[in-house]
């Protein structure tokens, strides 16, 4: 889970020196069959998250004590029912929305905030860089799982607090990547020249820096989505995230734990969904990364 938190070595030079770089990346990515499969699965999950609620066979909140814990393959309930007799298939479909939302949102926020802080640190250098990066180091000194759980434990359960904690967890690594690629770009001749000509710092960042650094930071951020999915569901699993009766895979896994002696495979289903999602995001991000790796 922490693999992705190690900083990738991004070759900024390759990006800026070839104008057709991104189209090359795209072509290489299209040729990567594994990555394309992963992309298809992710697309399917996103569609499920967006439209799942409209196509569920049964109301995912409708419980019935008489129909509880029906096995997989029961008529009308292809994936069985949960501990309150709600249709598992519908709940897994609708669960995609909250689960993906909880997994992707923190990375998105952390991408925005971390990039800004990291680019500022990398571009300005000096004492501001030191101040920012030493603060980042402090947060880096916490294992990510510990930091996420400690933060949401202190803030209290709830979707909002879980999102805040996870965002805070992902800002430091993104900030580090942003700082290092920005520092690389900053030392390029044309940036030095622009600075010497007295151009406004924001203008330089906008025209020369952003285009070259956002790509690598973004690719790095995509590799965090899988981690974020697992952590977010983990928080719900502990009772620190989504609250019942909302369908969310981590929480479903938690409430279904009482059924592992009667319907073990139903109890395992929500975790399988988390697994499929996180493995797809990981492969997608791996594909992106190797497509960007010019050495290949």
């Amino acid at each position: 889970m922490n693999a992705s938190l190690t900083i990738p070595t991004t070759n900024v030079a390759a990006i800026e020196q070839s104008p057709g770089y991104w189209s090359g990346v795209f072509k290489r990515f299209l040729r990567d069959r594994v990555a394309m499969c992963a992309a298809a699965v992710v697309l399917l999950l996103v569609l499920l998250a967006l439209f799942g609620a409209f196509v569920t066979p049964v109301d995912p909140y409708q419980s019935s004590m008489l129909k509880r814990l029906k096995p997989i393959g029961t008529e009308g309930f292809p994936l069985g029912t949960d501990e309150l007799g709600r249709d598992m298939m519908s709940r897994l479909m609708v669960g995609a929305r909250l689960s993906l939302f909880m997994g992707i949102t923190p990375v998105l926020f952390a991408f925005l905030i971390g990039s800004v802080i990291g680019i500022i640190a990398g571009y300005t250098g000096g004492w501001l860089n030191t101040a920012i990066m030493r603060t980042v180091d402090v947060f880096y000194a916490f294992p990510s799982v510990l930091l996420a759980i400690a933060l949401s434990g202190a803030l209290g359960a709830g979707i909002g607090n879980a999102l805040i904690s996870l965002t805070l967890v992902f800002i430091p690594p993104i900030c580090r990547v942003a700082e290092s690629v920005t520092a690389q770009v900053r030392s390029r001749d044309y940036v030095e020249a622009a600075r010497a000509s007295g151009a406004n710092a924001f203008a330089i960042i906008r025209t020369h820096v952003l285009g070259n650094v956002l790509g690598p930071i973004f690719v790095y951020a995509t590799s965090l989505i899988a981690v974020s999915m697992i952590l977010a569901s983990g928080l719900s699993f502990l009772g620190l995230g989504v609250k019942p009766p909302e369908p969310e895979w981590g929480l479903m896994l938690n409430t279904l734990r009482t059924a592992i002696y009667t319907q073990p495979w139903i109890a395992a289903l929500p975790g399988l969904m988390i697994f499929i999602t996180s493995i797809s995001f990981n492969m997608l991000s791996d594909g992106l990364r190797s497509a960007m790796d010019v050495k290949q």
Binding site: N2, L146, G271, F275
Partner: protein, 317 residues
């Protein structure tokens, strides 16, 4: 070299101070009265004041922080509010249990991770590589709390081969390296090992592939070096980084064991953290987080030093 070590250690001190500050603020961020679990509901204002003074919650936050930190340096992390026991005792008892679990998991992870990584890197772009790589991606993608549940379903609930929870028949105080206790360790350790396994496999694969592609190896091969000779070279190149990754993984597992310990009721730091969170036991919460984070910082320093000793070419930062 010695200078590097000294600098590295000195650099860790402000980080540790920062970590302590974060732990402290984190806990004081928490809403609600810190004395909620001991303050009698019909306590008079006078008794409330007396208790607050006793626990030191009447002082200003900076004052509380510095007295906490000064006592923490001497090994006194205060008293748990809910259980009235010493936090230091509670935390270190738990650390011992987590350490048993995490080191066992790291060893399993290191063994299989190196194996898969090496095979994948050596036979790069073959079917074997694809398979080994797929296993390692699975390792980093699997929600381990779910994997734990699945293992419990199969090996405890269905087959009844291994116990589902706990740290042995006599609890963790009687811990011994015999089968009666080790069988409690098997499922949680395997569950915990998949992440380091995946990470180490990915690292080793990349390193092996890189090393093999390097010119000097190609040159050595051309000069008629045997496969075993190549293997030795590769190991020499890969080992320092692989060991470093393993060390860091141990740190991550120590701090990130809460989900697995909850699934298996393993009486370690994660379990302790869980009850501190849900009981709103602030001294216990901040003490546990602090100890884990400091462990992690120190482990990082140690790994850096070891790595640069093993491979002097590496000088980080």
């Amino acid at each position: 070299m010695i200078l590097f070590i000294l600098r590295r250690i000195l650099y860790a001190i402000p980080i540790m101070f920062g970590v302590a500050l974060v732990c402290f603020s984190l806990v004081h961020l928490a809403p609600g009265d810190p004395l909620v679990s001991v303050l009698p509901p019909d306590a008079s204002a006078e008794l409330q004041k007396q208790l607050r003074t006793l626990y030191g919650f009447d002082r200003s936050l900076p004052e509380q922080f510095f007295s906490w930190i000064l006592r923490a340096v001497t090994g006194d992390l205060g008293t748990s509010i809910a259980s009235s026991r010493s936090v230091t005792e509670e935390v270190f008892r738990a650390v011992k249990n987590t350490l048993i679990l995490a080191s066992f998991a790291t060893l399993i992870g290191f063994f299989f991770g190196s194996l898969f990584g090496f095979v994948a890197g050596y036979f790069r772009d073959t079917f074997v590589d694809k398979l080994a790589s797929f296993i390692s991606v699975m390792g980093v993608s699997v929600p381990h709390y779910w994997l734990g549940m699945v293992l419990v379903i199969i090996f405890a609930a269905q087959l009844n081969w291994l116990p589902a929870t706990g740290a042995g028949p006599g609890g963790s105080a009687d811990w011994a390296w015999d089968w009666a206790h080790m069988r409690h360790l098997v499922l949680p350790a395997i569950t915990m090992s998949v992440i380091p396994m995946g990470i180490i496999a990915r690292t080793v694969r990349a390193l092996v592939a890189d090393t093999l592609a390097q010119e000097f190896i190609i040159g050595l091969r051309a000069m008629g070096l045997t496969d075993f000779g190549v293997f030795r070279h590769v190991v020499k190149n890969v080992a320092p980084t692989a060991l470093a990754v393993m060390g860091l993984q141990l740190g991550y597992l120590l701090g990130g064991s809460i989900l697995i310990e909850t699934v298996f009721s393993w009486p370690g730091t994660g379990f302790l953290l869980n009850s501190a969170i849900f009981q709103r036991d602030l001294p216990l919460l901040q003490g546990t987080i602090l100890v884990l984070a400091i462990f992690f910082v120190l482990l990082n320093v140690l790994v850096d030093i070891l790595q640069s000793t093993l491979d002097p070419r590496i000088t980080r930062q």
